[in-house]
């Protein structure tokens, strides 16, 4: 029986529009764009030019800092553009896909016979290594340091998140191959949820399986790290999202880079919430046309409501995105006297609202901040949704004041911005905690470079 870690702190937010467990068939329109912002901490150097022909698995850009880390194309086709933003920062690389896909052949490999070096070399060669993240700093991993452990969380418990067990159906072999490959590099921990019963998860081999039993964010990989193998200064832990483990497994089992993933298409504004198979970088237009309930203003989110980034109808699927969520924007709500009205439709952990009365009711929340930004007033708000041995409030204060010593002492190496997502949700002072944590991590990374 796997170890069980019980967590009390946290919060499950019930949102309307959960994806039904069936797959929609999608006819892709051939437009793809790999977005570089998805790979946090990477300084990209683009190695293709518009008009160039690429196969799925060919390198599109590399990490300037570690040139051996390459990022490969999800499809075969013709590079259409290198999209640049302010100060010529590369935003994405667009590709028009061929009708028939060609894959670079990286040769099948038996993962059981590989050693750590061979696994890393294979991932680097195929341009998949960049899908591994690391703590500290919550950035794309550095291939030159070896981690003390690798963490995979198969539990996605953010609101309306994609159910990994559903995604896993039929991919069990690839997932296990991926886990075995990672276990060659360092001790690998697989975190699963209490309700997950798939044999491929419970019976996963070569890894230590731990059950995390508690409300969201029990599925956050940062919580797993904090409970099982906390990161100290100078140590590194790699974290891999479960779909990337499948990518790795496919590479070893088939020799191809196949970035197909299952995405939950969910949210209160989606007419028929369901699952859909998409390639990383696929244009969302085909998915979104005619599937949004009302014509009024909506917010389309690349990811879940807590950690995802807003995108547009013509956006592209992010590299680490397992949900496309659509919620009302709400910027024309004009709600009267919110400080005193009962506001039955609103969700709050505070009992001055009535959501405590409605139990499992599902809410259609919009994107409003619902208050002005203030100094930190209430105490203990973050604590209640932060199941780690860290004082979140004090860490945030240390980051705001730029006190590097304090940040280190309070455990900044153990956190990533997503760990603060729930705290940011419940915060009555409406501080942008994830942005603040990211700025602190970036500051430290620069200082320690």
């Amino acid at each position: 029986m796997a170890n069980v870690v019980k967590l009390k702190k946290g919060l499950d937010i019930n949102l309307a529009g959960e994806a039904e467990k069936k797959r929609i068939c999608l006819k892709p329109n051939g437009k793809y764009m790999l977005q570089l912002d998805d790979f946090v901490g990477v300084t990209p150097k683009v190695v293709v030019k518009p008009g160039e022909k690429v196969k799925a698995g060919d390198v599109l850009f590399i990490n300037k800092e570690y040139p051996e880390v390459k990022f490969s194309s999800p499809v075969s086709g013709i590079v259409t553009e290198v999209l640049r933003g302010e100060r010529r920062k590369v935003i994405g690389i667009g590709i028009n896909a061929d009708a028939v896909q060609n894959y670079v052949d990286f040769e099948r490999k038996d993962v059981r016979s590989l050693d750590a070096e061979a696994v890393i070399a294979a991932l680097l060669e195929a341009g998949l290594f960049g899908y591994i993240n690391q703590l500290p700093y919550a950035v794309s991993a550095n291939p030159r340091t070896r981690p003390k452990a690798i963490f995979v969380s198969a539990l996605r418990d953010m609101p309306l998140a994609c159910d990994f067990e559903f995604e896993l159906e039929g991919q069990e072999n690839d997932f296990q191959a991926g886990l075995t490959a990672l276990s060659k590099i360092a001790k690998t921990y697989l975190g699963i949820g209490r309700r997950q019963s798939s044999g491929a998860l419970i019976g996963a081999t070569d890894v230590e399986v731990t059950v995390f039993d508690g409300p969201c964010p029990a599925g956050n990989v940062g919580v797993h790290v904090n409970h099982l193998c906390p990161v100290n200064k100078g140590e590194t832990v790699w974290t891999v999202e479960p779909t990337a483990v499948i990518f790795f497994g496919r590479l070893f089992n088939t020799g191809c880079v196949d970035l197909r993933r299952t995405v939950a298409f969910a949210g209160s504004e989606v007419a028929k919430p369901a699952y859909v198979d998409m390639l990383v970088g696929q244009e969302l237009a085909t998915l979104l046309s005619n599937s949004i309930k009302n014509d009024h203003k909506v917010r389309i989110i690349n990811g879940n409501v807590l950690t995802g980034r807003p995108t547009t109808k013509n956006g592209y699927l992010g590299a680490h995105t397992s949900e496309i969520t659509v919620i009302p924007e709400g910027d024309n709500a004009d709600e009267f006297a919110g400080w005193i009205m009962p506001r039955f439709g609103q969700f709050s952990v505070n009992r001055s609202y009535f959501s405590w009365l409605f139990g499992k009711r599902k809410y259609a929340l919009d994107a409003r901040v619902k208050g002005g930004e203030r100094h930190m007033i209430m105490s203990g708000e973050y604590d209640r949704v932060f199941p780690m041995d860290i004082y979140p409030e004090y860490l945030i204060k240390a980051i705001i004041s730029g006190d590097i010593d304090k940040m280190e002492q309070l455990g900044i190496y153990e956190v990533s911005p997503e760990d603060f997502a729930l705290a940011e949700f419940v915060d009555s002072s409406k501080l942008e905690l994830q942005r603040i944590v990211r700025s602190g991590l970036d500051l430290l990374r620069k200082e320690n470079a």
Binding site: R299, F336, G338, N350, K370, R374, Y394, Q409, F425, Q434
Partner: protein
Amino acid sequence: MSLLRNYLNKIRPNFEEGGKLSAFRSIYDGMDTFLYVPNTTSKCGVNIHDAIDSKRIMSMVVIALVPALLFGMYNVGYQNYSAAGTIATASFFEIFFFGFLAVLPKIVVSYVVGLGIEFAWAQWKNEEIQEGYLVSGILIPLIVPVSCPLWILALAVAFAVIFAKEIFGGTGMNIFNVALVARAFLFFSYPTRMSGDSVWVAKDSILGFGNTLPDTFTCATPLAGIAQNAEVSYSICDMVLGFIPGSIGETSIIAIAIGALILLWTGIASYKTMLSVFVGGGLAAALFAVSGMSSIPWYEHLILGGFAFGAVFMATDPVTSARTEKGKWIFGFIIGALAVIIRVMNPGYPEGMMLAILFANMFAPLIDYCVVQANISRRAKRLTHK
């Protein structure tokens, strides 16, 4: 409703930068966000937010204070009518309305002066108006004697808002409880108007309501009586219900308890702080009672004077109390124990709650520092024990 919204939208440009009323932008913003939940949507980070905000929190505290306020008004009338000996013939309405008329000017002065400074400060600093003063503004009239002159009150409010809050950076940044700083200012600057035997009962009739009492009339609070070893003529029932002389809002345990329930239910006040204040006070009082230094039973310390009011509404102020969960236990205990120690040991101060809370406010950061330091050293040990 949309009429009002449209009107606000129409006049908004006047208040924006370059508009002819831009000097009053903070007032416009304050009113707009007060009337309507801002439509601003999140730009980064989480895409959805909890409906709670600091306006709602502060409003809940004000609502929690209403029972104490209403009872306080009634008690002001009750004390006046019973001092004049006409309580038996006065109607409930007369009694309450006299109290209402006596208390209302204090609330008005407190809000006008305090919010005036807040608005001006917000405009000067180009910030949004913060709601903290909504609570302080009602707390201050509740913790002064009814005969406190308005000009002194105005002075105290101005002092507290500027020197206890704004210079530290506004709501959320102050070290000392603003309302208590106002009271401390009054207490030390105008001691004759704040304590003694002649300040607790309103002596002038207002608009034909109430009775005019002779200037020489005195009536001590039960605590002052106890400090002078005088016989206390109030029953436990009077003390719990609140029909005793004292600061306007502090007398009724029942009204305060209703407020406490609202604060605890909404999670705005910490039960840890509140409970440990009573535990600390009860323990200290019991020790004094056993040792014979205090002439009253231990529980009377908890129901007399400002103890309950301070424990429920002042000690639990999230900004000035300890912020760590363990720290809250220690913080509350210090307040309770210290308040009783001051009452019993210091013959000059029959009431110790105000000083105890201000003192604990000062030590709250230190308490938190120790609690957080334990986490820091645990982490540091992990590194050395690798």
